[in-house]
Each structure stands twice: as C-alpha cells, then as structure tokens.
C-alpha cells in the first residue's frame, strides 16, 4: 500500500528518465520478482510433499495395486462329463448357451446397476432381456459367484439380444455375451433325484473336505450323482496366471499354466426305460390313491438288481424337471421349485427312496421271520398259531392285548402262510419270543443280547445302506440304548419317547414293522434283494462306470462335440468307450439263513401274489404269473394316533430266478395291496413285456 501511494504520488513517468534503472525502480522490480519466487517456492514445496507422500508413505498400498493391475487369473471351465444310462442313453449333456456375463473386476456397483437396468429395459432403449432387473441383480450378487470370473446374469438369450449387447459393450463396460456350458437333459424329466444338479460352489461347500481343492466360482455337483461323482465329472479347469497390459492384452508367457482336462463321463446302472416307467407308475398310483380320497402326498419307487446290487430305477414323488436347476443360479433354486410347506411332504427335492424314513408295516415281517429262524426260535417247518387276538405277557392280569387284522382264528400256520395272509398275531408271537430270549433283562427276562436288532442291522436297517447318493438317511432300529437316550432327550417335551424305559411291547410291535422302527424304501429293497439272491445284503450303486470317450484319433472329444450325438443307441452314446473305473456294489453283509429257511420265506412271498388268499393277489389279477412269477409282500403301516396308513409293496421277480426287486411306498395312501401293489404291477408289466394297463387302479386289500 505504501509503495503504491509513493508511486502514484510521483505523477507521470515522463518526468523520470530510465525509470526502470533508478535504484527505487530496481528495488521495486526485485520485490516483485521476490513475490514470484515465493509462489515458485510454494509450488516446489507442494510437489515435494506430494512426492514424499506417494512414494514413501503410501508406496506399499500402491505397490499392491500395481501388482493387481497386471497379474490376472484366467480360469477356463472344462466341459463337465456326461451322464449316461446303462444302455448309453445320454441322460445329462452339456449345451453351450449364450449367456450374459458381467465382470465385477471391471465395474463398480453403480455402474453394474446401470448396466443391469439397461439389460432389462425393452428395446430399443435397452437390450430387452426377458429377465427382470431384480433377478439380474440377484444373480450378479450371488454370494457363490467367483470374483475371478465374469458372473453370468442371464441365460439363453437370442442372437439379436446378443448383438445388441455386444455392440453396446463400450457404453456398458464389463458386460459381455459368452457361450457357457449348461447342463442339458435330453430325456426330459427323467430321474432328477438321482442326477441332482450343478451350481457354483457355496461357502459351506468350500469348507467341506469333500470338495477339497475347489475354488470359489467352481461349478460343482450340488446333489445326486452329480455331487457323488463330482471329482470325475468335473475334470480339471485350465488355469493361467498372466501378466496383462493396460489394454487387457496378455503379455509374454503365462506365469503359471495348467492344462484344462474335460470331465469323464459317468455310466449309470439306471435303465431309462424302466426309470421312465417307474416314474410314470408312481405318479399314476398317487393319482389313483388321491381319487380314492387318500391324501397320498408323496411316494417312492426303487428298482434294484438283486444279483449285483445295481439300482435300475429310482423314482420319488413329488418330482421336478432337472432343467429347472440347470442354470446354476443358486439363489433361485428354492423359488423355482416352490417353497415346501411346513410338513415337508411336498418338498420336491427330497429323494424319498433314500430319505423317507417311515414304518414299514407288514413288509417287515420277512425280517422278523428271518431273525426268528436265524436264532432257532422257530424252524422252517414250525407251526405257530394265528389267533384273532393275543395278550402279552401271557396270562398276566395287566397284559396288553394285540389284535390280528381279522377277528377270526386262522389256526396254526407255518412261515409261508403267515406271510401269505400277513398274520399279525403270528409275528407278535415271534416278537414275544425274541423279546423273552434276547430283550433287556428288565423287560421280559431276556439275556439282553438284542439278537433281533442285531439281525435287523445285518439285514440293512438302522444305518444308511451306503448307496452312492448324498443325503441318504439310515432310519432307526430301536433298542434299549436308543430308548434310554430318547427318554432323556424327549423328557418334558410334548411327545416323550420311551417314558417307562424299554417295554416288551416295543419288540412285539416292531415284529410287524410298527412302533419306533423306521426304514427307507431303499433299505426295504436291499433286504428283499438279500432274500431273493440267497442272502447277500448289498451296498447298492447307481453308477456303473467312469468312462472316457475316445475317438479313433485318440483325442478326447469335448462335450460340445458330443452334444449332437444324443441318439439312444450304443453308437450314439460313446463312440470309443474307454472304461476308466468300474463301479460295483459291494456286499455289505450276508443273512445268516440257510437255503431251507430262505425258501420258506420266499414261498410265503410267492403266495402273497399268486395264491387267492394272498394280500397282493387282487392287485395282480390278470397278470401272467405263470410266465413271469412275481413274489412280494404288502405292508400297511398305521400312523400312530390317526387312521392314516402308509402303503408298501416290496416284490421281486421272476421269483424263480430274481432279476429285479421293486420297492414301492406311498405315503398316507391306504393299504399296501390296495394302492402300492398296483404301482409295482404296472412296472412288472413293463419289465415282463406284458404292458396291458396304462393307468394304475387300486386293488382290494384289507390286511394290516
């Protein structure tokens, strides 16, 4: 201010010659230069401070960013192996579908939302996908999706949509259309419960030892055979760690490489013809039962080969189409299949062959007979009375009364007849004898060796059979140990179990397949297979072999190429089959019964179907038993406290040389001979080649 005043008071420049060079002028200029110098110093201070901050204080963070910038993991998904039936009919194949993907490494959330909105908006202002914005967003943020791979958000888009999306890629970075392998089911809705489905690995599965070595984003088998044989089907993903430049172009040699190897094919022992028949018959049987005013919410059928333990067919109702779960969007699974109600009896994903645990009713009598025979409580020719009612303990004023299904006294009978007419009192007697001999001493004076339960476990009950399917349940063989544990656990609850400790009545009831005994349909099939095959209790198998499909030139074809060969012939299945591993059922045990004893039981089972008094005879009326003899046993399991029954029918045939065992179970669907046996008959007709009826109709059966 002072300087300015001085200067302006000096008046005009003209009076001073060489103003710039007067001492005052130079001083002024130097002051002005000093101001400029100060500005420059400030600029340098700013530059040096920033440089120090970036290169010394924040260097580590930025080093990491620099590394992430340039090293990229590139994973390739190998084609998953196919699944074929025993005749090499392709059940599960791969198809490559146009899939919209979004690379989360490239876009942030806001940008992604913008892109998804555009994808969902109809043309011409958007890409016109059929999928809603909400669904796309859910798919993008699926917790199971890999952070290293573009996330698929919509499948099966058409070529026009794909073009629109590709052309707009510069406006919507990170979005792309890719051909991704998708599970395909050429046989339609066949065997969803066996096949299972695939999807990206979930958090829990990542921790599971079963999937050791898997990484986030891997596609794994989630259920069924896809899960059990995941390691064969999956193959090895190719992996490259590469250095990329700014344009995303790979620079130089990869730092790490692993070759991609296609998954192996899996051949099942399933016969898709019989499988289809089993599913159709089960559905038809359920429908018939519902027409007869039964609830019949669920059911299961399993067809097994008793000679080798192979599963030929396996049907569970309610069912679903496997293609519903083929796209691998895990968040949508539940929604697509519908949420099961509280009782869970409408849960379509449950494979009831291995996971329904129900009382077997009279079908269990073969086991009781076996236990009594094995322990010499009766012989193959023994006669036991079959009165209308019995009391245990006998001649005790406080005895419990047990009724047969008829009041008539049917007199003395042997094992075969007891099965033929399904005499309850006959088996109550066997149960009583087993209890008094081997039950807990406190109960009826047995020696506590629980030989009955031991036999049951030997015959395949109380533990999972060990079939090659996940989530199998083992049922329950009640014994004193279980009783005491249950007592403790359920004390003071609404439904206390075993309140008074083990009672003789438990064994008596168990003898006819009631009480706390629960079994799975597969266990029933296994135990009947043992009776049919001379005593071998199998650990069943659904898979038969792991195979590589090699063409003449030795190259392994990709599933993409194979996709076209969907023919139902051997040639169409595997062109140059090369079995890598054969999978065989293992014998889990042997029934301790001799041929005579087994023959007695088998004779009874034949009579059930063939003789006029047999409980399944009405259901097989008109069936050419002379040409294709079938043996079996009905079961009607009373559900405690209700008038509802589970219907069972386990059979094998041809009974002179058994090739198949069929176990049928219908929940809350009346009597075994009435509703379950007709389902089996339908399947037997198909197997025997006498396909007459096309719909199951209920038969007569008033046994219990």
């Amino acid at each position: 201010m002072v300087a300015r005043k001085k200067r302006s008071s000096k008046g005009d420049k003209g009076t001073r010659g060489g103003g710039g060079e007067t001492s005052l002028g130079i001083d002024r200029t130097k002051i002005r230069l000093a101001v400029f110098a100060v500005l420059l110093i400030a600029a340098f201070v700013a530059l040096y401070s920033r440089l120090w901050f970036l290169q010394v204080l924040a260097a580590d963070d930025y080093r990491t960013q620099a590394r992430e910038n340039r090293v990229r993991r590139v994973e390739t998904e190998p084609p998953r192996g196919r699944i074929l039936d025993r005749n090499r009919v392709v059940l599960v194949d791969n198809s490559f579908e146009r899939t919209v993907t979004i690379d989360r490494q490239v876009v942030d959330d806001d940008q992604a939302k913008r892109t998804l909105r555009w994808l969902a908006r109809p043309e011409p202002r958007g890409a016109g996908l059929e999928t809603s914005y909400k669904e796309l967003y859910e798919n993008l943020n699926d917790a199971a999706a890999s952070p290293y791979k573009p996330v698929p958000v919509a499948n099966n888009i058409n070529a026009t949509q794909a073009n629109v999306i590709r052309e707009s890629a510069n406006m919507y970075p990170g979005v792309d259309v890719d051909y991704l392998p998708m599970r395909k089911y050429p046989q339609g809705g066949i065997a969803p419960h066996i096949l299972g489905y695939v999807g990206e690995i979930g958090e829990d599965e990542l921790k599971d030892d079963f999937f050791k070595g898997s990484n986030a984003g891997d596609v794994i088998g989630k259920a069924g055979i896809e899960r059990t044989y995941d390691r064969y089907l999956r193959g090895t993903p190719g992996l490259e760690k590469v250095v990329v430049d700014a344009a995303g172009e790979v620079v130089g040699e990869p730092l790490l490489t692993r070759e991609e190897e296609a998954g192996s094919d899996l051949i099942l022992s399933i016969d898709s013809e019989i499988q289809r028949l089993a599913q159709k018959s089960l559905k038809s049987g359920i429908r018939a039962a519902r027409r007869a005013a039964y609830q019949a919410p669920a059911g299961a059928v399993v067809v097994m080969d008793p000679t080798n333990g192979q599963v030929i067919a396996m049907a569970s109702f309610p069912t679903y189409s496997p293609s519903l779960l083929a796209d691998g969007f895990s968040t949508k699974d539940a929604r697509k299949l519908g949420v099961p109600t509280e009782t869970g009896d409408d849960d379509a994903q449950v494979n009831r062959v291995i996971a329904a645990q129900r009382q077997p009713g009279s079908t269990f009598k073969v086991v009781t007979a076996g236990a009594a025979l094995a322990n010499d409580l009766i012989s193959a020719t023994s006669q036991v009375p079959c009165p209308g009612r019995t009391e245990y303990p006998p001649e005790d004023p406080f005895a419990t009364v047990f009724h047969n299904w008829t009041r008539a006294d049917l007199g003395l009978m042997g094992v075969p007849e007891s099965l033929q007419v399904s005499c309850n009192t006959f088996y109550y007697e066997l149960g009583w004898r087993l209890e008094t001999s081997y039950g807990p001493p406190k109960s009826a004076g047995g020696d506590g060796t629980e030989e009955f339960q031991r036999y049951e476990r030997l015959a395949g009950f109380g533990n999972p059979t060990g079939i090659d399917l996940p989530y199998e349940l083992g049922g329950r063989v009640p014994d004193e140990k279980w009783c005491l544990e249950a007592q403790e656990e359920t004390e003071n609850t609404q439904y206390p179990l075993c309140e008074q400790g083990w009672l003789p009545g438990y064994t008596v009831n168990m003898a006819i397949g009631q009480g706390d005994l629960i079994v799975t349909p597969l266990q029933m099939a296994v135990t009947y297979a043992a009776i049919a095959n001379g005593g071998t209790v199998w650990e069943p198998r659904v898979a038969m072999a792991v195979a590589k499909d090699e063409l003449d030139d030795g190259t392994v074809t990709t599933s993409k190429q194979k996709g076209k060969a969907g023919a139902r012939t051997i040639e169409g299945g595997l062109q140059g089959e090369d079995i890598v591993t054969s999978i065989e059922a293992k014998p889990a045990g042997e029934l301790p019964l001799d041929d005579v004893e087994l023959a007695a039981i088998r004779q009874g089972l034949e009579l059930v179907v063939a003789s006029p008094g047999g409980t399944a005879n009405p259901a097989f009326s008109g069936f050419p038993l002379d040409k294709f003899p079938v043996a079996g046993k009905t079961g009607t399991a009373q559900l405690g406290g209700t008038k509802l029954n589970d219907a069972w029918f386990i059979s094998y045939g041809p009974s002179n040389n058994p090739k198949y065992v069929i176990a049928v179970y219908l929940e809350k669907a009346g009597h075994g001979g009435e509703s379950a046996a007709p389902v089996a008959r339908q399947i037997w007709e198909g197997i025997a080649g006498v396909d007459k009826k096309t719909e199951v109709s209920l038969a007569e059966d008033d046994s219990r």
Binding site: D12, K13, W52, V243, A246
Partner: protein
C-alpha cells in the same frame, strides 16, 4: 597482457585500466552461465533416457527400433543447441525491434494451424505436418508472447496504467485464444500464467489483478455456459477432485499415473524393469505428458526428487538472471521464461500425482517433442543472452 597490443594500448584513464581490458572483461562470451548450460544438458539427457525407457519395450513389441524416440529427441536437442547458440550471439536488446514481427508471425502460424493446413491429432488441431517432422506453433508462440509483452512493458518502465495492462492482456490473450481454439487447454493456461507473472514483475497494480481476476472468472463461466470447453476437458479437469474415480474413464489415467509413481517407492524399480506400469503401458502418453510417471516408477523418490531439484536450479538461474539483468526488458524476458517453466513443471508433475487437473502439458526438456524442446532451448538462449550482456 597480449590484449593490450591488440587494442593498441589505449587506456581509460578514469578507470585506471585500459579500455580494451575493460571491454574484454565485459565481453559477453566471458559471462556465460555455465550452471544454466550444465542444467540444460542434464535435463535433456535425463529426458532422453526416460523417453527410451518409456518407449523401448512397446517399440520392440511393434517390431520397430526401440531407440526411435530417444534418437529423435537427441536430434531435436542438437538442432536446439544450434538455435540456442545463434540466439545467444544476437544481442537481445535488438530483439525489441523485432518483437512485433516475431509476434505477428506467431499469431499467423496459430491462425494457419486452424486452417486445413493444420493437422489434427488427438482431437487437437495444433500441428503442421512436414512429413519428416512436425511443428507445433503454440510452443514457439510462447517465446513470441514473452518477447512481445516484455517489449511493451519495458517501455512503461515499471509504471503501468490500466490501458497498458489491457494492451499486455491483449497481446497475451490473442495468442491464448487461438491456442484455446485448437483446443489446447494446457498451452492456453501457460500463456495466461506467463502473462500474469510478467504483469506482476512489469509493475501492474493490485487493482489491475483484481479486475483481471474478475474478468477471468466471468470468462470461465461464460466459456462453460457457452460450451466452449469440451466435455472431456471438464471431465479431465474435475477427475482429480474425485476421490473414487471411475476406473474405466476419466480417472483412469490419473489412477494409473499415481499407481506408477507411488509404486516406485524410495528407490524405484530400476530402469527397464519388466512388468511395470511403464513396461505394460498402463499410463497413456507416457513418453510425452506423463513422462514423470516413468521417472517416479523406475527411479523412485530419489530420482524424482533429484529431477525436481534440477528444475529448481534451472528456475533459480532464470530468476537470478531476471534480477541481474541490466534492463527491465531482460528482467521481464527472464521472468516470463521462469514463469513458463515453473507453471509447466508444477501443472505437469502435479497432474501425474493428482494434485492438479489433467491438462495436456509437456514436462520441459524431459517430455518427448521437438517443438517443445526447441522452444525451451531458445528460452535458455535468451536467458544466456541476458546473462552475458548484463555488464554492457
């Protein structure tokens, strides 16, 4: 003492010393600024090395000569050295007479470059393409503007009226406007900065700056409203204020530049190291405007700080010359040059580190580019010129 013979033994009695000896002592050639020359050589060499480092791997990748850009820069430096020497020999005070002509030619080239004669590159019409080489007239225009403003303000002898400020602004503004139309925002701002510093040193008053500041603000608002500033320029300018820049667009260059510099750390990754931000071309324009990122990544804090130190000495020499100048013209020329270098350095290095907006500005002497290097050599020539004639 052989000198005495040459000048015939004539002696200035007053000074007690022979005139010839005094003249010889004051001879311009004896008053060069060796430090300024040394710094110029060091910076240019430094630049050539960094240009090689930033371009060689990509050149190799393309199957071209890895040293192509470095060789060209060295050729430019030799041309510049001759221009420097030529300009230094010609007494700068005579340039006052030529200043209007030089300025006129500069404006003409700036107009011509906007015509179809000019070549469009990177969306900017700022080049003349002569096949073997290209010329960017806006670079040379900076020198012309410095000379013109210095000539005019030196006439005012430190007493500057509003009309003088207006004329000086007119001189600078005409060039700045033409450069702005190309559009070259960085070049425009350099001219504006040079103008401001020369007004400061030349004697403009605080009220003049207040008025100019107000007019400038109005002009900026008007430019934004009228859409004279391109969207990409706004995006680039504002990107540095964005703390979470969109990785894919405007912030990309900035993010990659910062990563490159910071990942260099204290010692740097070393020249020619593979798989660096530089090697993988994550930073665009790295041999030109973003050359400092290559310095930061490869030479670390040590190298970057040393480079900034060289610039500090360079600008200090320019300021020293401005202060030592025999006349106001020389002072203004030197100050203008110091402003040109200082502003370019601050904005260029600042933008790579995220403290200044991204405007296309080369780093003097270091960035690849013939016109820029030649202009800077001419500026050194002018400084030497003022320095060596400070006594006569």
């Amino acid at each position: 003492m052989g000198m005495q013979g040459v000048f015939g033994g004539a002696v200035d009695r007053i000074g007690g010393e022979p005139i010839t000896a005094r003249m010889a002592r004051k001879a311009p050639i004896r008053h060069l600024d060796p430090m300024l020359m040394m710094i110029t050589l060091l910076l240019t060499t430094f630049g050539a090395v960094m240009i090689f480092s930033a371009t060689s791997s990509n050149q190799e990748f393309l199957g071209s000569d890895p040293a192509f850009f470095m060789k060209r820069q060295i050729i430019y430096a030799f041309v510049g050295a001759f221009a420097l020497a030529g300009l230094a020999l010609f007494d700068y005070r005579h340039l006052r007479a030529f200043a209007p002509i030089i300025y006129g030619v500069a404006l003409l080239t700036l107009v011509l470059v906007l015509t179809p004669l000019g070549d469009v590159r990177n969306n900017t019409k700022s080049w003349f393409d002569f096949g073997a080489f290209q010329i960017q007239p806006s670079e040379f225009a900076k020198i012309a503007v410095i000379l013109a403003i210095a000539t005019y303000l030196a006439e005012r002898k430190g007493d500057v009226r509003a009309i003088d400020v207006a004329i000086a602004v007119g001189i600078g503004g005409a060039a700045a406007g033409l450069i702005f139309i190309e559009p070259d925002l960085g070049g425009t701002l350099v001219v504006v900065a040079v103008l401001a510093v020369m007004l400061l040193v030349g004697g403009a008053k605080i009220r003049h700056f207040a008025a100019l500041g107000f007019l400038g603000a109005v002009l900026v608002v008007f430019s934004l409203q009228a859409g004279l500033i391109k969207d990409y320029q706004i995006e680039r300018i504002t990107a540095f204020l964005d703390t979470s820049p969109d990785v894919q667009t405007s912030g990309y260059t900035l993010v990659q530049a910062k990563i490159a510099i910071a990942s260099g750390g204290m010692d740097g990754k070393g020249l020619g190291t593979e798989n660096t931000q530089t090697d993988l071309r994550f930073v665009p324009e790295q041999h030109t405007d973003f050359i400092f990122t290559a310095v930061g990544e490869q030479l670390g804090f040590v190298g970057s700080a040393a480079l900034l130190g060289l610039f500090a000495i360079l600008i200090w020499r320019a300021l020293r010359i401005a202060a030592m100048s025999r006349d106001l013209f020389g002072t203004l020329v030197a100050a203008g040059i110091a402003a040109m270098w200082g502003f370019q350095l601050f904005v260029n290095v600042g933008m790579t580190m995220g403290i200044m907006p991204i405007t296309g500005l080369p780093l003097p002497f270091v960035s690849f580019g013939g016109s820029g290097l030649l202009t800077n050599f001419l500026a050194v020539g002018l400084l030497l010129n003022v320095h060596m004639r400070r006594l006569i």
